[in-house]
Symmetry: C2
Subunit: 389 residues, 2 copies
């Protein structure tokens, strides 16, 4: 196990009707003027936004609002948000939505406290301060409610990049599984793929002797394998929604990834898909992950056999562990299919002829690479895209 630090100071408020406590928590964490940041019409139509406003009104906390966040959130709206916060002396950004809204809120929060262009942070500049961020989560997926990460797409060129900092950890996050019950099945499934992907990125590691984090990773995956089909069958299954929602937080606040090298190449590879075709991140991950696994499996066949046995319930083939490893990947692919996700380019609506362009946009160059489990060169990334055709 490697040395590490772990810091997850977010105050989580979980359960039915908890969005009505938003005002209380904004006040508790020192917010005096709020930007309510959200996406499209669903938070308006469902009455969620009204309940959040009522909760702020009750505590006498003033607010301004900025809607319009899209999936794969864009830099343009972040600039707008930064300007609005400065003009209105906002000191607290309250995200009401899913990962895209939260990521956009985090970028605004960091940008307000920075004199330069906020995009600098997404090109590697460390974030040294940010407004406080709180969240009211409406989809179990990105884990952004408990993480210090943000992913934004720059509109000029559609580059999708990530930034991370302790300053971006939300001070509180309100998770009400009821809010996810109205999601279409496809979005629910995409969220599930995203959650599982966050675990895979940590699970496949070259660090030895990490039983506790292996087992915690498997705990999240086993929960998903049990609960996701239940919500696909019955969208109103509160308890299954609740287990998935908490699993989504645990999958990405890094508790399951400390002390070990992590990979993250599949996320980079997928980012080019969702940037180019504007497909859901989770759908892209469902296409990329089985391909990536197939390509890198020989780096550590026994690790792939381990997940096959422990998560997918495969019988270990002691004569030929590779068969077990392959069976695990097959079951993952079948699982994604069974919950209605695409598992190849065609189903996703991606095109073979765009592969060189996507590889190019990853900017790996001659000697660059992405990922840690196996350091992938441009030719490897291309091969993985092709395995996903």
């Amino acid at each position: 196990m490697n040395n590490f630090t772990f810091y997850s100071p977010t105050y989580f408020v979980f359960g039915k009707r908890t969005e009505n406590e938003a005002g209380h928590y904004v006040k508790r964490f020192g917010g005096t003027k709020v930007l309510i940041h959200y996406g499209g019409g669903s938070v308006l139509r469902s009455g969620l936004l009204d309940r959040v406003k009522a909760s702020l009104d009750k505590e006498g906390v003033p607010y301004v609002e900025l809607g319009g966040v899209k999936p794969n959130p864009r830099s343009g709206l972040v600039y707008q948000g930064i300007d609005l916060c400065r003009k209105e002396n906002v000191d607290f950004v309250l995200a009401v939505g899913g990962g895209s809204v939260i990521d956009s809120a985090k970028a605004i929060a960091a940008g307000v406290k920075y004199e330069g262009d906020f995009w600098d942070f997404f090109e590697g500049k460390p974030i040294e301060a940010a407004l406080k961020v709180g969240t009211i989560l409406t989809i179990a997926a990105a884990g952004s409610e408990g993480s210090g990460d943000s992913v934004i797409t720059k509109e000029e060129g559609m580059y999708k990049r990530g930034a991370g900092s302790e300053h971006l950890r939300p001070v509180f996050s309100i998770l009400n599984p009821e809010l996810t019950q109205t999601l279409p099945a496809f979005q629910t499934a995409c969220g599930a793929a995203d959650i599982m992907a966050h675990v895979f990125e940590r699970y496949f590691t070259n660090t030895k002797e990490v039983e506790i984090t292996d087992r915690l990773c498997e705990a999240v995956l086993l929960t998903m394998v049990k609960e996701v089909p239940r919500v696909i069958e019955d969208p109103n299954n509160y308890d299954a929604r609740a287990n998935i929602m908490w699993a989504g937080m645990v999958a990405h606040n890094n508790l399951v990834g400390v002390g070990r090298e992590q990979d993250w190449s599949s996320h980079s590879i997928e980012h080019e898909l969702s940037a180019l075709y504007d497909v859901a991140h989770g759908a892209g991950l469902a296409v990329i992950f089985p391909a990536w696994m197939t390509y890198v499996m020989h780096q550590n066949v026994n690790r792939f056999a381990q997940i096959a046995v422990r998560v997918w319930g495969c019988q270990m083939n002691f004569e030929n562990p590779e068969e077990t490893a392959k069976e695990g990947i097959k079951r993952l692919k079948n699982f994604f299919k069974s919950i209605g996700l695409p598992t190849n380019f065609e189903e996703l609506g991606a095109k073979e002829e765009d592969i060189p362009k996507m590889v190019e946009k990853m900017q790996l160059g001659e000697n660059g690479s992405c990922g840690q489990f196996v350091k992938l060169k441009a030719k490897d990334v291309e091969a993985i895209y092709r395995l996903a055709l």
Copy 2:
């Protein structure tokens, strides 16, 4: 799943040589005058205390010190600590040791900020403020490094009681598994039993539909089942120590227990054993838990079968799940034996004739009860003590 809040804001610093960063973290979290609180000679002999002082000196943070914490920490030293902190204007308590030292430090931290008798908190008064506490952990066991709990024994009458508050969560905890390598095997095993007990208290619940926390509980237990025998065999196995140490934190910061009713009767039942005989808490738990499980099993046989299958690798007996449940309890008892722990009164040095006295001291009265999974009356507690003979 029940509604819940979860807040674990401790900054964890994990790994080799991390104790040398103590001064840095005290300063980061605003400490300007420190009480170094510790137990017996081992932190002196090992040079750990010197390294911690050097680290504080390096940052220019002044300190006073108070050693002498005993296992099952006593109220007397807490009063001394409170007086010393007030006299010396201490604003940060740095615990260097195991759960007893940390619990004593927390009690001091709360007591300094309170005009009345600190023992009030251990009789149920809510804690509203406390000095900041940091920890340098030397044994994987109590989980106090990540929890808001403290257990203190009142010397008049040897009453052992607990208090809990968000204000008692350490602001940082330094976990260096190397520091645990010098522990005698028996203490290591007692710590392991304590960690596993923290999971059991949460695992046995009447709350339905808690797959994510079930699986996280099992993740910790599976890790212990793998790693503990390895450190008993080779005390210098750093990686096995590391996995256990992080498992010990995860077991008790409540991540694995949110959203579900928890039991905690076995801890209360054990507290009377360790208060009366001054035995190690973990040794007492190893004696009590199999007895408690045997007594309450019929409340939910399938839950006991589940842990038998998922943690102990039993084959499910579908015709007779009770057999599987019993097999799981048997394997737990065998596991405790195999790592050198007592599993009955005799091996613990406890006496049958003291049973009525211990039941009496639990102050359950005519109508009181302890525990949630099964609400135990005085006669039930007596029966459990007798099952442990």
